[in-house]
């Protein structure tokens, strides 16, 4: 059996690991356009801040690929998919054939329709190459405008501030991080960010941009205000990377469509991670949930099925944890509180700590936790399994989550689930 894996990030790595667990002899080849061993994408902000060296960024060491007998082809970009002949063509004209194909092509930054953007230099904040470019070109006291106040935009703001750049963040929404949290929690985050000198402009966006000199850009905001900046960072979100899929018979909407075995509409072709959409557990709707955990789980499910061992993916759910300016932020489930029939309870168990829990029908369906990550995974489990928690609501709000206080069926049974 010949397995071909395109992309070597979380989804691809877990797919290959699963394939090898079930098929000791199959030939596994992985193509990645990255030049080196796969690295954790979210680590790029740590690299820019000088908190991590490049050689420490690899998700798996070379030894991992050697042990699993994976032929890892770095710097090789897949450019065309020939489903009829079961082959993939690379940018340099090489052809790789397969019996089973896994697509883990990830996402790519969305380019907003801003007048003049294409004609001026701008950064993304997506790959190690992006932050290397930033490190090279941004000098202290430079003015940087970041378009987008989401996770990526704010991580960019944090690391650029550490380079002593003067950072402004502009976002369309009435509050920061609007895709993952409500206004109350976002206000706390905003306070922490502004205390570090970052300027935040909300309910606003960039209408036009033009170059007025070397390293000088004139930016016109929607509200008419003009800004002079040295650099632009575009961080308005990530969309599934369907470059390889376009023009083929593979079905897609926003993301590539897969069944519960992570197989596409074409037999033998599987996919996972940021490029696919799947049923989201809580809403029941098809969504692209671009988080590392989701990619890993989907990759594993795909890998088992590719090797002939049926396993179903039961659904995705958002869960994020990140640090911004020494503030830890965890969000999970339907944490933006939008939607009907929800009860939102907020507590501040200690100074600087914020806990917002969203309930629906006696069950937890979302949480936003600021500086409150301790044992937070217990809450995630309650959301994921939609456990009835009406009786223990007050305890969940007031105290660090404890297993003993949660009405699970039986602990020993649940423990067994984790290892079965």
């Amino acid at each position: 059996m010949k397995y071909l894996v395109i992309g070597c990030s979380s989804a691809g790595i877990h797919a290959m690991e699963a394939i090898r667990q079930k098929d000791a002899t199959g030939e596994i080849t992985c193509l990645t356009k990255e030049q080196d061993l796969p690295y954790g994408r979210p680590l790029i902000s740590y690299w820019l801040e000088g908190k991590i060296r490049e050689e420490k960024m690899s998700l798996r060491p070379q030894e991992f690929f050697d042990r699993l007998g994976i032929r890892l082809c770095t710097g090789v970009e897949a450019v065309r998919l020939d489903l009829a002949n079961r082959s993939v063509l690379t940018a340099t004209g090489q052809s790789f054939t397969y019996d089973r194909l896994f697509l883990g092509c990830g996402g790519k930054p969305i380019v907003p329709p801003i007048e003049g953007l294409k004609a001026v230099p701008h950064f993304f904040f997506h790959t190690l190459a992006d932050v290397k470019k930033i490190k090279l070109l941004v000098t202290p006291e430079d003015k940087v405008l970041i378009i987008g106040g989401g996770l990526i935009g704010l991580k960019a703001a944090e690391s650029l501030t550490s380079l002593n750049a003067r950072v402004t963040v502009v976002d369309l929404a009435p509050h920061l991080l609007s895709s993952i949290m409500g206004a109350g929690a976002a206000y706390m985050v905003q306070e922490a960010i502004c205390a570090q000198g970052v300027e935040v402009k909300l309910n606003n966006s960039v209408a036009a941009v033009r170059m007025i000199g070397p390293r000088e850009l004139a930016v016109t905001l929607k509200d008419g205000v003009q800004l002079m900046v040295n650099h632009l960072v575009v961080a308005v979100g990530v969309a599934p990377n369907l470059d390889l899929v376009q023009g083929t018979a593979l079905s897609h909407r926003r993301g590539l469509l897969v069944d519960q075995h992570m197989q596409t509409n074409i037999s033998g072709v599987y996919a996972g991670g940021d490029m696919v959409e799947f049923r989201e557990m809580l809403s029941g709707q098809q969504k692209v949930v671009g988080i590392v955990l989701n990619a890993a789980m989907q990759g594993r499910v795909a890998g088992y099925n590719m090797a002939g061992f049926p396993l179903a993916f039961d659904g995705s759910m958002v869960c994020n944890s990140l640090n911004l300016f020494a503030t830890n932020i965890v969000t999970m489930g339907e944490s933006t509180a939008a939607g009907e029939n929800k009860e939102i309870l907020v507590s501040r168990p200690a100074p600087g700590v914020y806990r917002e829990l969203v309930f629906r029908d006696g069950r937890l369906c979302g949480a936003t936790l600021i500086n409150d990550a301790e044992r937070a995974g217990i809450l995630r489990h309650l959301i994921y399994k939609q456990v009835e928690v009406d009786e223990v609501k007050e305890g969940l709000l007031a105290k660090t989550p404890q297993l003993l206080e949660i009405p699970f069926a039986r602990w020993d049974e649940y423990y067994r689930d984790l290892t079965a």
Partner: protein, 151 residues
């Protein structure tokens, strides 16, 4: 694989498992030195006793078959050893994003310090010891170290 199991009925809420875990994971594996280390940063126990009177129970890593902590790890610090099944956190690689804390469904991972840096810490089944320190210290044999035939 062999795991640490807690029989809630026999747990007497003494917290000795925490104390001996902490000592076993100190640079100086000595109780007194562990509680007053020279760098002033007391290591945290990788097992935690939960209390909901009159019940109590010690919780530590299950070394899950498919660990969510490792799945969510952004840096590759958390991995499940393919040979032993032990889920380990590499302090050299951990960037303290706390993704693992946000997904561990039993809350078995804690914020700790290694070499003065904040990192996630968790049960490693006391590598190098025949019986994990928590199990050895349990006066009522609520904690056992056994292979129940689970993966």
């Amino acid at each position: 694989m062999k795991r640490v199991y807690c029989n809630e009925k026999y747990c007497v809420n003494c917290h000795l498992c925490e104390i001996y875990c902490l000592a076993a994971h100190s640079p100086a594996p000595d109780l007194i030195k562990a509680f007053s280390p020279s760098d002033g940063i007391r290591p945290v126990a990788r097992i935690q006793v939960e209390e909901s009177r009159p019940r109590s129970m010690a919780v530590s890593c299950r070394h899950c078959l498919h660990p969510l902590c490792a799945d969510s790890c952004i840096s590759g610090a958390l991995t499940k050893d393919p040979n032993t099944g032990i889920v380990l956190s590499d302090p050299e690689k951990c960037v303290a994003c706390w993704s693992c804390l946000s997904v561990c469904s039993i809350g078995a991972i804690r914020k700790g310090f290694v070499a003065g840096r904040p990192v996630s810490v968790k049960c490693d089944l006391c590598q190098g010891r025949e019986i994990p320190a928590c199990v050895e210290a349990c006066p009522n044999q609520a904690l056992t170290y056994e292979d129940r035939g689970e993966n």
